[in-house]
Chain length 176, copies 3
């Protein structure tokens, strides 16, 4: 029979049910206004609740982090075309639906103002103030020819999928 000391140091065979995650990881893949909202509303709510919160901005999700005064201009015509189609910065966010000549986003922003729902710029600022870790995706930056100087202030060092998955291992994780 095992001694108590052996039992205490033996590998734990118990399957834990209801383990709690007190971290929040959001993989922000979409740059659409209507996806930016849940990203920041959940991110800031998590941080305000005391959850250690990290948002990884990848693919289209990186565009809102590009400075509003920066025009993405890569080395080749393809990057230039992509930049035309997807101007960076929170001022230029489209809406995944209802994007008729830009009417949709304007309408949503006005609706939000009247109902006191924060704008993306405000949410970005609140997120930084609450200590949310805002991490740009290195691979997306490489793909678009962006450097840290092209992105807004207050971001963490760029990172990749490995970092994101390591963070996710003990967190509530959402792909938005």
């Amino acid at each position: 029979m095992a001694t108590i000391e052996e039992t205490l140091t033996a590998p734990e065979p118990v399957v834990m049910e209801h383990p709690h995650h007190t971290k929040l990881v959001i993989m922000a893949w979409s740059g659409d206004l209507d996806k930016i909202w849940p990203t920041f509303i959940l991110g800031t709510t998590g941080a305000a609740m005391g959850m250690e919160t990290t948002i990884f901005f990848t693919f289209w999700g990186l565009f809102p982090l590009v400075r509003n005064d920066v025009h993405i201009t890569g080395e080749n015509w393809m990057q230039k075309m992509m930049s035309m189609m997807n101007r960076g910065g929170t001022e230029h966010l489209g809406l995944s639906k209802m994007n008729f000549a830009g009417m949709g986003p304007a309408m949503m922003k006005k609706l939000a103002e009247e109902h006191k729902v924060a704008s993306p710029n405000e949410l970005l600022e609140v997120a930084r103030d609450l200590g949310v870790h805002l991490v740009p995706c290195q691979m997306t930056m490489d793909l678009l020819g962006l450097t840290k100087a092209d992105l807004i202030d207050g971001l963490e060092e760029p990172a990749g999928a490995t970092t994101a998955l390591l963070e996710a291992q003990d967190a509530v994780t959402l792909f938005i």
Copy 2:
């Protein structure tokens, strides 16, 4: 050296691997027919497996919960326009792809009928019967000027992001 009693009551330094979540939380953000299906199929399957299941309906995801006989009419022209673009209720669901003059959804529904895949209305009913918690998002209701009377029966009290994240902390969580 620590006594056995001290060891037993000391904070647990062991990192638990393979902890099991027996709860399921779905954040249903999309109102498209092809996203409603995985929401309800996963939700009802989870409940049938004995997982305590909660679906939070937010943003576009709230529209399928609006009564089919209700026309969303807010106080201002913007809410009226949104309501025109997104009629509530499960009868009017679009499809995120192939929505050519409404042909796509009709085609999918017929395909589903022939192959015995349940319709959204049936899935909603099954979900309620299985005890799935169906929670409308309070912020979205405020944004659209909706009250509980505008929504279908059998829903839980409206709640916000804090409640959703608290539920998510010990659950399998999907953002759909």
Copy 3:
């Protein structure tokens, strides 16, 4: 007072914080090129990190698993129409945005080539080599009239929502 033996065998009332998941489950619902990338980049990264990784391909996500030389032809006109709109195989992937006359995907693929980001076909092969479990959704196969012979090699047995949720219970789970 409880004996040490009783204490050791008593149900564990402690809420575990920071439990670690060393498994990764991806529910790949979208067949768009720009969603296939994060699916495979995260899937292969997870596997390379030693996480036991499973990707469930469901709904639109099943299409990239259809052989490039297979034309989906169901028993009825509806399946034929769907197959026209969504040709299977990794050669025909669209992009959820910027899909202007097919220019978008071609542009993205070229961008990726120049920047050494792997193509979907390469990622699929790498995933298989790394031991990622690639599981097609049985219900979607039934809906589209597909059999295993219509799908690429190297896949696991088709499975449904129950299997996916069982896997998800002790994993980092992403719905993409």
